[in-house]
Symmetry: C2
Subunit: 120 residues, 2 copies
Amino acid sequence: MANNPLMDRCESTIIHEDIINEVKAHMPKEESLYDLAELFKVFGDTTRIKILYALFASEMCVCDMAALLNMTQSAISHQLRVLKQARLVKFRKDGKVVYYSLDDHHIQQIFNQGLNHINE
Amino acid sequence: MANNPLMDRCESTIIHEDIINEVKAHMPKEESLYDLAELFKVFGDTTRIKILYALFASEMCVCDMAALLNMTQSAISHQLRVLKQARLVKFRKDGKVVYYSLDDHHIQQIFNQGLNHINE
DNA sequence: TGAATATATGAACAAGTATTCATATGTATA
DNA sequence: TATACATATGAATACTTGTTCATATATTCA
């Protein structure tokens, strides 16, 4: 039976069908789970976390963020694009300078809960 | 001045030094930010999100998770290792069967805040 | 208009990661 | 003890992603 595609799935024998059905009934829909993972992916990078923490304290221009984090303007700019696409930051222009700020009030709470887990 | 390493950092001219200092004063320490990013990295994968949501509803064995998510036992097992290392799940053994369950009560709140952001 | 400068962006590269495949480990049972 | 089976794991692979480099865009000011 080397060709049975279910070979690697516990011999295709579901041990607790009742539990599986119970769990299935409580699962959010696929799309929500995907979007949630995408959101956390955005949080899963030190540079972006730092940018967001910086913006908790004050709006900032790209140049200042680069100086603050000791990174190139390009690297910061690329990451800001990711944060923009995730609707986490917004910006306003003042001449050449672009000021970024937070566009979501959940972020801080999410981060705090995350820190709670870490500091346990 | 093509060799100036600060060339790409806004000519090394910090525009708003006051803001940078203000922000610096409020930044958590490097290590916390790193750990936080590591935690969110764990959340940043659909398979792991699904596993955790499943465990919100009930403890489950590896085999059932594989059946539920229609994935190989091996893939599930690898992801459970990541979740274990992040201290997000714990397990108990009953004969051959290993039952996994949540090891943190913050997860659900973090996910709910995440969904709030998505559904806005 | 031309020079300076703040930001954005495409391409390339290096590093990280999720899954698969093969196989090992550990437990129950015939 | 031998077999079955639930789980774990190392290696390989395909895919993703963060940064750099070069350059484009846009705005100010002389």
